[in-house]
């Protein structure tokens, strides 16, 4: 009996030594560096750089997603970004986490110029350098570069920055999807 046990143990030990060695070799020889996924995720994020996801900017958030973080924390991106992320990562899309904010219409910052005192605080706050102006002179927002992150609003000592919702004009207008009638209801049928 004991010899049987001994043989068994020895065989397994031999195998384990060989395999263990092999794995040790592998682990040392082929380390994983970097994560190309981060780039891909970052490319999907809206780059508003608003920090609503709880990370200082889109890229840190991308890194957190690559490490398995939740994909539903970016309000500016909203459903479409979540969907794109889910698609990219092959996971189920989840609804936007309201704790990070809600999806809003696109906005831009506008400085009421006659009230601006030229304190440059908004310039320091803007993550994409979308505000022009020098100290003690009036500042303006470059509309085409503003991401609508509203980070400049709070620092302004005189509250002269407004976030204006961009109204669609005739050239930016697009067709809406047909009214959702997955299956028309009885009521509709009667009325039509």
């Amino acid at each position: 009996m004991w010899t049987g046990i001994l043989i068994a143990v020895l065989v397994l030990l031999g195998l384990a030594l060989v395999f263990g060695g092999l794995l040790g070799f592998a682990s040392e020889r082929f380390r994983v560096e970097g994560n190309p996924l981060v780039e891909q995720i970052d490319a999907v994020l809206p780059q508003t750089q608003c920090g609503q996801c709880g990370f200082p900017g889109c890229r840190p958030y991308a890194e957190s997603i690559a490490e398995g973080g939740a994909i539903n924390k970016c309000p500016p991106g909203g459903e479409s970004t979540i969907k794109a992320l889910a698609d990219l990562l092959d996971v189920e899309p989840q609804p936007l986490d309201a704790e990070h904010g809600v999806e809003q219409a696109k906005r831009v910052a506008v400085i009421r110029e006659d009230e601006c005192i030229g304190c440059t605080k908004c310039i320091q706050a803007c993550p994409v350098d979308a505000i022009l102006g020098a100290a003690k002179h009036m500042h303006t927002v470059i509309e085409s570069e503003c991401t609508g992150c509203d980070l400049c609003v709070e620092p302004c000592p005189v509250d002269c920055i407004d976030m204006i919702t961009i109204e669609p004009d005739i050239r930016a207008w697009t067709w809406t999807p047909p009214a959702a009638t997955i299956i028309a209801t009885d009521r509709q049928e009667v009325s039509s």
Partner: protein, 350 residues
């Protein structure tokens, strides 16, 4: 003045889904008539019962899902499913067999996927295959013996009793193995001539069955004429079956002859009414050809070497399973493009 607001086009031709389905039902009537003439009242009773159950179960599920019941029922698709099951089940199948088949077709195969248009598998065939494996006895012993309606028993009453009670006594002596089944299990030990002497084959190819198949063929041609189905699936289906039979089955002492493949069992019903179910079939022309041919080949394989004498249901389901894949790789070439774009869009977003 408030005008109607609508996206173009503003004109529509008038053949709604409900009418399409109605046409399918009408086109199947010659087949049903032939079945009644040669196999008695069983199919008629089955069809009526199956349609009733189909409508009832669809209504129940719609109610559960709080969908508009009357509106959806009026699209007639549940009725088509019921009809096709009624046409395919054995004439004397007990009522509960039909009920299980129809309910699983409508509930599992159709409504669980979201109802009309979403089901990846042909509901009727899911129902059929499910009862075939569940109740093999009831599904193999209840085929009526072919005879002309007016000079044969059992009459309508007896048939109804047999179906409604599930008891065999009323129909004892009026059942018989189907020609394909008979051929399949006899040919191993007999010659073709001996096998064909069995009354189930009659004078022609397969007594009664040949007429039923012819009637379904005619109905199918009507559907093609009405542009409700295209020729691709039936042609590929029958073509593949013929090709396989010519390639492998030349020896009648070993394999069923081509005529039997074409005119016995559910071949024509399958080719024109079942494989062509638009929801679960492939979409592009090329895809339809592959899909139809796949069914034909599988039918021949299973009939010749598998356990099941008739294999329309399984073959259709197997190819249904491959449809999304086929669709991925057979989009048509679009105007102005050199080649069709196959497969999926790349993952990279630019």
């Amino acid at each position: 003045m408030a005008f109607v607001q609508q996206s173009s086009p503003h004109a529509h031709n008038a053949r709604p889904t409900s009418k399409v389905m109605l046409w399918v039902i009408l086109a199947a009537l010659p087949g049903l008539l032939a079945q009644t003439l040669f196999f008695g009242w069983g199919n008629l009773i089955n069809v009526a019962w199956c349609i009733a159950i189909a409508l009832a179960s669809e209504a129940a599920i719609l109610k559960l899902r709080s969908r508009p019941v009357a509106f959806v029922l009026r699209d007639n698709t549940a009725a088509v499913t019921g009809l096709l099951l009624g046409l395919s089940l054995p004439q004397f199948a007990p009522w509960w067999v039909s009920a299980v088949a129809v309910i699983s077709a409508i509930v599992i195969a159709k409504q669980l996927y979201g109802g009309l248009g979403s089901n990846p598998f042909n509901p009727a065939m899911v129902g059929y295959a499910l009862v075939l494996i569940s109740f093999p006895v009831a599904m193999t012993t209840n085929w009526a013996e072919p005879a002309l309606l007016w000079n044969s028993a059992p009459g309508f009453g007896d048939t109804l009793v047999a179906v409604a009670s599930g008891q065999q006594t009323a129909i004892d002596g009026w059942t018989m193995a189907t020609p394909l089944d008979e051929y399949k299990h006899k040919i191993a030990s007999h010659t073709a001539v001996e096998v064909l002497a069995h009354p189930t084959f009659g004078e022609g190819v397969a007594k009664g069955w040949e007429w039923v198949n012819a009637a379904f063929l005619i109905g199918g041609l009507v559907l093609i004429g009405l542009k409700i189905i295209t020729w691709h699936i039936p042609a590929a289906f029958l073509g593949a079956l013929i090709a396989m039979s010519l390639a492998f089955g030349s020896n009648a002492d070993q394999y069923a002859p081509l005529s039997l493949h074409l005119l016995a069992g559910g071949t024509m019903l399958g080719a024109f009414f079942i494989a062509t179910d638009p929801v679960s079939a492939a979409t592009s022309h090329q895809g339809k050809l592959i899909y139809g041919a796949g069914i034909g080949v599988l039918i021949y394989l299973i009939r010749s070497w598998g356990n099941y004498p008739d294999a329309v249901a399984f073959s259709v389901l197997l190819m249904n399973f491959a449809v999304p894949f086929i669709d991925h790789y057979t989009p048509p070439r679009t105007y102005g493009h050199h080649k069709a774009r196959r497969g999926q869009p790349g993952r990279g977003r630019s």
